[in-house]
Amino acid sequence: MNKYHLIGFVWLLAFLPLMAQNDSLNSLHSPENVLKFADYLFCQKDYLRAVTEYENLLELPGINSDTLKFKIALGFSKMGQSKEAGERFNSLTFNNVFSDEARLELYKLKFFTNDFSSFREMYVQKSLLPAKYIDPVRKLYYTSYLLDSAALPGKEEFMRAFPGAAGSEIAKFYSRKRDPNYKSPLKAAILSAIVPGLGKAYAGEWGDGLTSLIVTGVLGYVSYDNLRAHHSFRGYLFGGLVALFYAGNVYGSAAQAQIYNARIDFTFTSDLKLYLNDNNYFLPVYEYFCK
């Protein structure tokens, strides 16, 4: 060993800790650890950071994982970035380990962005139907009719998608959707025009109806009595008030019927969504991602 060899050896000895240090820093950012960390973030529902980490991994040479691509798309979907998610799921629909899942997610994207007409169009075309998940997609298809104003399919056809225990609950929702207990605004207005307050009572507001009847009646009587007693000013004043109350009551009755109908729709949608949420919309959960 000459002296140059020895100097080289000493250099190596001296800087070995620093080199090791660089390696150890890199170890937290090694592909394996990045993946572990990204999976952790994904399961913690920190999707933005998880997606960033997965994308960093995909940029590394030699890494081209369908799982990563699917998780990225799923992350975008969970963040509500449906356009970005849709594009990514689309690229995974053929010749891919996750093609069935990607197709299911495309259906879910349409459904959960309330784009029910596109959803149904996609379902009818069948080109993207996921073989593994035909049943959940069919259930979503029929459920979509309960959530918008499209004409309901026949009950027999509808119920075929919900065999078993779920059927009885869904049948109740179907009946509520088909025969909602609506009140006619026109009928409410006409009733109030005939007897003040009757339209409000018809629309379910008995208290308001009775108040309207009493107030209009009393003011009408006072107006009539004043006119009869030649107290013109008071007579016309109360007459004006009666006209105002009467017109307001007719209009208010029609509005009340509309409010009643909106309440029925709201209650129906809330009850249905609560039920569907409890049953995860009859959709599968990818348990292999976050156990």
Binding site: V10, W11, L13, P17, L28, L41, R49, V222, A229
Partner: protein
């Protein structure tokens, strides 16, 4: 050959072995990761800082960095106005606080984040608990200071003024809060004078047109009522009295609403003023 015979070579050998070991002391990967995150915070790159701190937390199996990481994640979230997340991480940092001083720091930040996200009730609850803890008796003035701010955001400027006074270091703030309290309208007074003279509550709050309208309507209906009774038309009088009382009640409610609106505006203006002009420590 004996290389140590050469003094220059020996010196080189000594330096090479000692310098990296002392000055350039080898750091653990977690230390380096922490430095990386601190660097990102210094550059105000809070999103990446949070990512790196979370990475450190994930790999820190001994939880050596639990307090520092959670605290800095909370701090970064707060800087990004993600106050719910900030509260979550400051809460976690309290659990991992290594000593009383760190615990006080975490609790204070928790309070400040609660104040900013308008959950002043929570902030006050934490501060009242801190006040009772013997380990924080030396820091009561700081607690009073943050109680003052919590009361400001709770729209209780009088109490805020008292707390700032107790803190002993915020006379300017205490005076300002007193001025704001003085500038506010008394809701009860607006209601009472409107009971006595319809429309006067509206005048008191500076809503003159509304005041005149209230006065005119109640006056007119009062006159009609009186006139009906004077003419011995009792039923007319009763109906008109009903209308009079309905208008009178509306007038009182209206005065109350105006006073509340005015006070809300005064509080908002005061907060904006403090945000732009107060140089001391703010939530």
């Amino acid at each position: 050959m004996n290389i140590f015979a050469n003094r220059a070579l020996f010196f080189l050998f000594f330096c090479l072995l000692t310098v990296p070991g002392t000055v350039l002391k080898a750091q653990t990967p977690l230390e380096r990761q922490f430095q990386l995150a601190q660097g990102l915070i210094a550059k105000e790159n809070y999103f990446d800082a949070i990512t790196e701190l979370k990475r450190l937390l994930f790999f820190d199996q001994k939880k050596e960095y639990a307090f520092r990481c959670n605290y800095l994640i909370g701090y970064s979230y707060k800087k990004g106005a993600k106050l719910d997340d900030a509260v979550k991480y400051f809460s976690l940092s309290q659990l991992a606080a290594p000593d009383d001083s760190a615990l006080f720091l975490a609790k204070t930040e928790l309070v400040r984040s609660n104040i900013l996200r308008r959950t002043a009730d929570n902030a006050l609850l934490i501060l009242k608990q801190m006040e009772k803890e013997p380990r924080f008796t030396q820091r009561l003035k700081e607690i009073n200071y943050w109680k003052g701010w919590a009361y400001i955001f709770d729209d209780d400027w009088a109490k805020a003024s008292e707390e700032f006074l107790k803190s002993g270091s915020a006379d300017e703030l205490s005076g300002f809060c007193r001025e704001v309290e003085k500038a506010k309208y008394s809701v009860s007074f607006a209601k009472v004078i409107s009971y006595i003279l319809p429309g006067s509550g509206q005048f008191y709050t500076g809503n003159y047109v509304s005041g005149i309208m209230s006065m005119a309507w109640t006056g007119f209906l009062g006159y009609l009522t009186y006139n009906s009774f004077a003419e011995e038309r009792a039923f007319d009088g009763l109906v008109e009295a009903g209308l009079f009382f309905r208008f009178h009640r509306g007038n009182v409610q209206n005065a109350e609403k105006f006073a509340i609106e005015r006070n809300s505006q005064i509080s908002k203006d005061a907060l904006i003023y403090l945000q732009n002009n107060y140089k001391g420590l703010k939530p």
